[in-house]
């Protein structure tokens, strides 16, 4: 675990969600999937009473990094199949990281099953980063390859991130809306 005094724990008595902001790539899977629990506007931003434990676990497991993880407060009360497993990001299943797709996206997915799978999906979030999921190679401003162990990255679109070319949440503080 990365040591940082910005790490936080949030519990509903059954599970504890651990937040490590240094790991966050700001992909936004959490707050676009379950705003009643994960709301970056609020302080604290995690409300463990906002949804059932099972729902919270599902969303935490979909976080593409170790920024959100969880553990059971009582190890003997673990629901089978919902142990605190290491999170794996499966690129063969590009959908379902974000909320339910629109009809057109669902139709596109159905068409994909018949033929070729695109290498990646790029999601353009208004007022937020460019999120790229799938198989990709990145080359930085000096022409050197960027080694990323993640299969998902958030690229800064506002120009204000200190972690260029990646998002660090600066767009949010700056009120970037484009």
């Amino acid at each position: 675990m990365t040591m940082s005094n910005r790490n936080r724990k949030y519990s509903n008595g059954t599970i504890t969600v651990v937040w490590q902001p240094a790991e966050c790539i700001h992909a936004g899977v959490c707050f676009t999937s379950l705003r009643k629990v994960f709301d970056p506007v609020k302080r604290p931003w995690v409300n463990m009473e906002g949804a059932a434990t099972e729902q919270i676990i599902d969303v935490v497991e979909r976080c593409p990094t170790q920024a959100l993880t969880f553990f059971w407060n009582d190890p003997s009360a673990v629901t089978p199949g919902k142990e605190n497993s290491p999170k794996l990001f499966d690129t063969k299943n590009l959908t379902r990281l974000f909320p339910a797709p629109t009809d057109e996206e669902a139709a596109a997915k159905a068409a994909e099953k018949e033929g070729v799978t695109p290498a990646a999906k790029i999601t353009f979030r208004r007022g937020g980063p460019l999120v790229i999921e799938g198989r990709f190679d990145m080359i930085d401003e000096n022409g050197a390859p960027i080694q990323s162990k993640l299969k998902m990255v958030s690229l800064c679109r506002c120009g204000l991130s200190d972690s260029q070319p990646f998002c660090d949440g600066a767009h949010f503080k700056a009120g970037f809306r484009k």
């Binding site: 033929g115 290498a119 990646a120 790029i122 999601t123 990709f136 080359i139 930085d140 120009g159 070319p165």
Partner: protein
């Protein structure tokens, strides 16, 4: 029919400029619907704005180079 996987995307970060992305990808817009880039750009890659100043978001329109 068998699913074949296409090659990996190439994402090139240009200094002081856009992220040029080449390869086979889909773009999903803020409303969750597919967002189609200009077809003529696909051969050399599609340039995505990184400075926040483009008037044609999410694509580059050269605003990064203007004073």
């Amino acid at each position: 029919m068998e699913n074949t996987e296409t090659d990996r995307l190439e994402i090139k970060i240009l200094p002081g400029g856009p992220a040029v992305i080449k390869g086979d990808f889909t773009v999903i817009g803020p409303d969750g619907k597919p967002f189609v880039p200009d077809q003529t750009q696909k051969h050399s890659g599609v340039a995505f704005c990184r400075c926040g100043r483009s008037g044609n978001q999410p694509f580059c329109d050269g605003s990064h180079g203007k004073p």
